[in-house]
């Protein structure tokens, strides 16, 4: 993916200062992060509405736009394409510039890309609610949104790549390896999935393989790698201590790279048996890099914990969510366990713990750390930050725990044909009720982040315009006084 440090013969310009880097990134990163915070709130609102429908099917049942089968994928795709991917891109742009000690190149291209991306998400969400869903898990936003998203991504991604090439710090840090891989791999898998599932669908059940492969690569090698890049940067940075072992991190990088593309094809898919079997083997292998990453962070934290620092607190829980969701994915890949757990709430519990718990919390941590640097001021409300961190962590673990336990009971009941089907659902609902409480907490956390971010932006804008405003409204006096 990248080159090791090589002594260059051409004269490189001197490394840029941190404030200069921050200033160059400001508009590009904010135009990715701010709309992302809106999508995050929309995602949890749609998720909560879908969740309430599970308890009372008559809720909001009068309109096709608000049917469960549309709200639920809308919630998930808004989380992935609305919040996670643009937040990851924003983090990537900032990190590539900061680690390369160079101002962001092609900043206006990145801004255009960001706006285009978010336009694509808006088109996709409207299309989905209008009934144009593709029907493929994690790729539900309609096909006409895909080109907009892809072009937007390529514009912002180009800025990141050009900035990387123009770096003034030859030494590479592990975060850059993860970042560049994810940056490169997303357009490949997204284009593959969009073409083979939507534009010119492959035959029959093979679509399910393509969709599962896309989901695994999106979650692991793209979103997961972006999140790990952020964690590997922010944890040592905020602890003010080097990473325990860069070699261990690199070992995990290569193992994830080799294994993660093959994971998470459901064992029950009606396709030739070698496909899920190979996938099971690779999924079990991922236990090694998972433990390597967890060990690396454990040693880096050195038993000190988060010291009340919100970025570190989110990062700590994010690593835990990675470990737990990774283990849940391995359990789901073992046929004897999947026999019980497939088709139950255990599957969405694992998915959301990975997406929101691991990737989401890591990118939130990154946002909490980057935004004050970009704006040159602390976030307006420390209390809102506390609410965000506490509610997000409690919410996602409550949600995942309740649904995983409910899913286990649901699966046991499903596999007992003596239990009538309607009673199976009553069993599962016990877990689901707690899950809804978790979703409420997640909504509160997301609202807190949005409010804090918009507040910070408003304050920054006011302060930025204040001198100009003062200039305009200044009484006409001589400048002798100053």
């Amino acid at each position: 993916m990248s080159e090791p440090a090589t002594p260059t013969t051409r004269s490189t310009p001197p490394p840029a200062s941190a404030p200069a880097v921050d200033a160059s990134c400001r508009s590009a990163v904010l135009s990715l992060l701010v709309p992302a915070a809106f999508w995050l709130v929309w995602s949890s609102v749609a998720g909560l509405a879908a969740s309430i429908k599970m308890h009372g099917p008559g809720f909001l049942a009068e309109s096709a736009w608000l049917s469960f089968g549309r709200l639920q994928p809308a919630s998930l795709t808004a989380l992935i394409y609305g919040f996670l991917l643009p937040s990851a891109l924003g983090t990537a742009l900032w990190l590539v510039a900061r680690l390369g000690r160079t101002p962001l190149r092609l900043g206006s291209l990145a801004v255009a890309g960001a706006l285009m991306w978010h336009l694509g998400v808006a088109v996709g969400q409207c299309g989905l609610l209008a009934g144009d869903t593709t029907g493929h898990p994690l790729l539900e936003m309609p096909g006409y949104a895909s080109p907009i998203l892809l072009v937007g991504y390529l514009l912002a991604g180009t800025a990141a790549m050009v900035t990387y090439a123009a770096r003034r710090e030859p030494r590479l840090y592990v975060s850059q390896w993860f970042l560049l891989t994810a940056l490169f791999w997303f357009p490949w898998i997204y284009a593959t999935a969009s073409v083979l599932l939507v534009a010119s669908p492959v035959r029959g059940a093979f679509q399910a393989v393509v969709a599962a492969w896309y989901g695994a690569n999106l979650g692991g090698l793209c979103l997961g790698f972006f999140a790990l890049a952020a964690l590997f940067y922010w944890v040592p940075k905020e602890l003010n201590r080097p990473l325990h072992s860069e070699y261990l991190a690199m070992a995990a990088f290569w193992m994830f790279l080799v294994f993660c593309g093959w994971v998470a094809i459901p064992t029950h898919l009606p396709v030739p048996a070698w496909i899920p079997s190979v996938s099971t083997v690779f999924t079990v292998f991922t236990v090694v890099p998972l433990l390597a990453v967890a060990l690396n962070f454990r040693r880096t934290f050195h038993g000190e914990g988060a010291r009340g620092n919100p970025v570190l607190r989110l990062a700590w829980w994010s690593v835990l969510a990675l470990l737990v969701s990774g283990m849940m994915a391995i359990v789901l890949a073992v046929p004897s366990a999947a026999r019980i757990l497939a088709f139950t709430y255990f599957v969405p519990a694992q998915l959301l713990l990975g997406l929101y718990g691991f990737v989401g919390l890591a990118l939130m941590a990154s946002g909490l750390a980057i935004v004050p640097r970009l704006l040159g001021a602390e976030l307006p409300s420390k209390r809102l930050v506390g609410v965000q961190v506490g509610a997000a962590v409690a919410g996602i673990f409550l949600y995942a725990g309740a649904l995983a336990a409910g899913g286990w009971m649901q699966g046991r009941a499903l596999n007992n044909p003596a239990i009538p089907f309607n009673d199976v659902l009553q069993v599962a609902m016990r877990g689901f009720r707690l899950g809804t409480l978790g979703e409420l907490l997640i909504l509160a956390a997301n609202m807190a982040w949005l409010v804090n971010l918009v507040w910070a932006l408003a304050r920054h804008t006011r302060l930025a315009w204040a001198p100009a405003w003062a200039e305009v409204t200044r009484p006409q006096t001589t400048e002798a006084g100053q």
Binding site: M1, S2, E3, P4, T6, M54, P57, F59, A61, E62, S63, S67, F68, G69, R70, P73, G131, D132, T133, T134, G135, H136, W188, I189, T192, L197, P201, V202, R203, G204, A205, F206, Q207, V209, V210, W213, N217, L221, L257, V258, G261, W262, I265, H268, L269, P270, V271, P272, I275, S279, R339, A342, F343, T344, Q410, P417, N422, V424, L425, Q426
Partner: protein, 302 residues
């Protein structure tokens, strides 16, 4: 020394390996799949190309996200065997003796005529070795015996299908809506389990009127409430008192609702294929082997 290009190539290879393995290779294996003509015991083709109304219904199914709660894939844990004796041949006493050897009580009276009236199930749900041995014993004695393959598993015991789903079942589907969540029951063979179009329409309009405690939301937007005419519309739903339209009004399904029901009725389980051995007789599609779809009618639910 500059290892850059080498590292880049290594990383690229690692990434692209899974793309070749799970995208390119299955495309070579499955991409050119054609309908199978080798349904066991019949000359039918599987699967049949769906009729126009069924295809429209599949679009409604996709658009409303029905697959968020319903799977359409049946799992199977294995197979067991039934041994059936269908004739005594020319040497009834020998077959009677063979049955005794197998530890069974032969039916009273004349074995040959008893078997002609009703073939005798010698063993049910036994393993392959025992079934083979029993068939051999009975055949050696001159009887006409065979074993039947019976797929097993909770999904099959729930009546969701006669055997597991295989790739061939989804040949004509784009998107193939397999589903991943069983909030609602599996629909692989809903057209067999619930063959009444009227029932499906009523159920879509008011699920809890048909299935108590159902978690399915009512899909009232697939129906229109119109002023009743002097003679009731042919399509008007017969609804139980709690959910019926106000006096002077009647509920009629839209084209979307009718298409969706046509699609549901077209889901008629799994045919026996060489890749899916089972002895259950294939279900003949309605209309004598064509793929015509039963129209929505007012036939009351059975």
């Amino acid at each position: 020394m500059n290892h850059g290009p080498l590292l880049f190539l290594g990383a690229l290879l690692a990434l692209v390996a899974s793309w070749f393995g799970f995208i390119v290779q299955p495309q070579l294996q499955l991409g050119r799949a054609v309908p199978e003509t080798n349904i066991v015991d019949t000359a039918q083709v599987h699967p049949l190309a769906p009729a126009g109304m069924v295809r429209q219904g599949a679009e409604v199914y996709r658009s409303l996200g029905c697959a968020a709660c319903h799977t359409r894939q049946v799992r199977q844990e294995g197979v067991v065997f039934d041994v059936v004796l269908s004739g005594a041949g020319t040497n009834a006493p020998a077959v009677t003796e063979a049955l005794r050897q197998l530890g069974l009580q032969p039916p009273a009276g004349d074995l040959a005529s008893a078997l002609t009236n009703a073939p005798m199930v010698v063993f049910e749900g036994v393993g392959r070795a025992r079934a083979d041995a029993a068939v051999k014993t009975l055949t050696d004695a001159g009887g006409k015996a065979a074993f039947q393959v019976v797929p097993t598993g909770p999904d099959i015991l729930r009546g969701w299908g006669k055997a597991r789903s295989v790739a061939a079942d989804y040949l004509y589907e784009a998107p193939a809506l397999l589903g991943s969540q069983r909030v609602g029951p599996d629909l692989s063979s809903i057209g067999l389990r619930m063959p009444s179009a009227e029932w499906h329409l009523q159920h879509l309009y008011a699920p809890r009127a048909m299935v108590p405690k159902s978690a399915m939301p009512p899909y009232r937007f697939l129906f229109e409430t119109v002023p009743a005419r002097s003679t009731p519309t042919v399509d008007a739903l017969k609804l139980p008192p709690g959910v019926a339209a106000a006096p002077g009004f009647e509920v009629v399904p839209t084209a979307e609702a009718r298409a969706l029901v046509a699609y549901l009725l077209s889901l008629r389980g799994q045919a026996p294929l060489l890749s899916r051995p089972m002895s259950a007789p294939p279900v003949a599609p309605p209309g004598g082997g064509t793929n015509a779809i039963p129209a929505a009618t007012n036939t009351p639910a059975k």
